[in-house]
């Protein structure tokens, strides 16, 4: 287990307007790792998918809270956990299949988990029917200074 260098916890009600709020909060916290614009966009998109899943699926037709825990771990790792106490997922493996959705009438593409898995280094999902779902994601941030140093190194060769 890596050392936690910094941590922030946020509790948001499951209103769709909070999808943007969650993205802004996560962006503000992630900025301290000096991410590239691309890394930041990846994190924002993954978080948006996880929070939207909690609102659309976890708390479908009901209201509840979404807890977001963000951490900076030693080794430039950005860690985020999005947890709800909603209906839970019966078959996590099935839910993570691309294009699988239980909300097609709302034009959900069924790609939330595919986006999270593609844009983050690791995604794990724990869920219990009737109790809720917890999505944990990690991404190693190659800070801009390192990217710049790499580019300068490339130029020399």
């Amino acid at each position: 287990m890596s050392d936690v260098l910094n941590e922030m916890r946020v509790l948001l009600p499951s209103q769709s307007v909070n999808e943007a709020v969650a993205r802004r909060v996560v962006t503000a916290f992630a900025m301290q790792t000096d991410p590239t614009a691309c890394e930041l966009a990846d994190i924002k998109t993954a978080v948006s998918e996880a929070v939207t899943n909690s609102i659309v699926h976890g708390y479908r037709g009901t209201k509840g809270n979404i807890e977001i825990i963000m951490r900076i771990l030693e080794g430039d790792i950005f860690y985020i956990r999005v947890k709800d106490r909603g209906c839970g997922i019966k078959d996590v493996k099935k839910a993570m299949e691309p294009l699988y959705t239980t909300a097609s009438e709302e034009e959900r593409a069924g790609l939330g988990f595919a986006v999270m898995e593609s844009f983050m280094d690791s995604v794990s999902v724990r869920s219990t029917v009737g109790k809720g779902t917890c999505v944990t994601m990690k991404k190693r941030i190659l800070s801009r200074s390192l990217v710049r140093a790499g580019a300068a190194e490339d130029e020399r060769h």
Binding site: S16, A20, R23, T45, G112, V115
Partner: protein, 101 residues
């Protein structure tokens, strides 16, 4: 987030701006569908030049408009797509059934 619609004879252009997520997608959908129902265009052009963020809700939005345009014998074109949004679209294989211009 908003959408500005420009309708020409056989084309409806939808200029999207700001952030596209699950919260604001229904409003954009409704504005575009109203214009398409009204004009029955041959092409719907969705312009992403001023879009600063899009998650998979945007994929649902484009896929839905693709189905709508297909039902009236038309097509969907996507233009001025920023790199990160293209990344989300490619993940969904959207380059297979819409035109990037």
């Amino acid at each position: 987030m908003g959408v500005r619609i420009e309708a020409e004879e056989s084309t409806v252009k939808a200029f999207l701006d700001g952030e596209i997520d699950h919260h604001c997608a229904p409003l954009i959908r409704s504005e575009i569908d109203t214009a398409v129902d009204d004009k029955h265009p041959e092409a719907l052009i969705m312009d992403f030049g001023d879009v600063t963020f899009m998650d998979s809700s945007g994929i649902g939005l484009v896929m839905g408009r693709y189905r709508l345009m297909k039902s009236i014998g038309g097509r969907v074109c996507l233009q001025n797509t920023p790199a990160h949004i293209k990344k989300v679209m490619r993940l969904a294989g959207m380059d297979r059934f819409t035109n990037f211009i």
